[in-house]
Symmetry: C2
Subunit: 156 residues, 2 copies
Amino acid sequence: MTRETDRRQAAEQLALSLVGAGMQRMGARVLSAFMFTEQESLTAGELADELGVSAGSVSGAVKMVAQMGLIERIHVAGSRREHFRVRDNAWTTLYSRQHSVVDDVLRAVEKGVEAVGPGHARDRLEYMRDFYTFLLNEAPVLVERFERQRRGGSRP
Amino acid sequence: MTRETDRRQAAEQLALSLVGAGMQRMGARVLSAFMFTEQESLTAGELADELGVSAGSVSGAVKMVAQMGLIERIHVAGSRREHFRVRDNAWTTLYSRQHSVVDDVLRAVEKGVEAVGPGHARDRLEYMRDFYTFLLNEAPVLVERFERQRRGGSRP
DNA sequence: GCGAACGTTCAGAAATTTCTGAAGACAGGG
DNA sequence: CCCTGTCTTCAGAAATTTCTGAACGTTCGC
C-alpha cells in the first residue's frame, strides 16, 4: 500500500519541520499524526502503534500538546479509552503561544533599558523594544484578520 | 559597582529569554553582550572576557550569529583584531528568519495535502495550509510597516 | 622571515534532553 | 470486590547538544 507509505512519510516530514520551528520531537510527531489520520480522533494506544514508540512517550507528549491547547480530550460513548483530536484553532493558538515568548523577550529588554544609562546600549535596546512592542500589538490583529477573512468568504 | 552588576544581570536575562525563543545558548549570550556594551563594537577576546567562556565557544557563536545576519564584522583602523557589532536591522532580520521556518512547515503541509485523498486529514491540512500561507504573506508587510513608521515619524 | 597576538578548528568531556520499560494507579465490568 | 485494559509516572539508558582546551593558522610589526 504505497498510498499509506506516502501518508506516513508526509506526516514525518511535517513533524520534522515543526521540530525545526522549535517543537519537541515527540510532541511534533504526535501532532502530525493527528493531522494525518483519517479518523475523527485517536487514542493514546493508537498513537503508540502508529508512531512505533512506547506508551510512556506518548503519554508525556500528549500531555504537553494538550497543555499547549493544540489538541483536546473528547468523550466517546462505549469506549473506555481516552480519545483526542486536534482543535480547530490549533494553528492560531500555536502562533499566539510564540508571542508569549516574544512577551518574555520584551520584558527583558524593558528591564535592560532601565538598567543602563544614556548611551549606545540604551539606543540599541530602545530600538529593539520598539520593534517587539510593535509585534506584540500587531500579532493578534493579524490572527483576527485571518479568522474573519476565512469565516466571511474571500471578500465581503 | 552595582550599576555594572545590574547591566550584566539584565544582559543575562535577555539572553535567557532569547533561548526561550529558540536561540542557542551561547549565541544568545553573545548577541546580548553586543546589545549591552557601551562600546561601539567588540572583539572576540573582549566577548570571551565579558562572558567568562573559552575563545573556542566565542568563535563558534560569533560565526553562527554572523551567519544569521544579526552582527557584522567591521574594520577598525589601528587594530589588528576583528571587531563586530549588532546590525541595525538585527531584529527584523531575526523575525524574517523565523518566517523561513514557517516556509518549511508550509511546504511540508502542501506535500501532505497532495499525499492524502479527500477526507478528514485533507480538511485539516487545508486549513493549516491556509493559515501558514496567510502568515507568510503578511509577515513582510508587517516588517515594512514598522520600518516606515519608525522612519517617517508617527504619521507623515 | 621571526615572534607575538589573535582567531579557528576539532576531538572529546560535560551537560542536557529525550526515550524507554517496568511498576503502579485508576475506572468500569463482571 | 477483584480483574482487565488503559493510562501515568519515573528512574535510568541512550542520544544529542554544548563547551572546552590544546593544537594549528594567519596576520602584522619588527
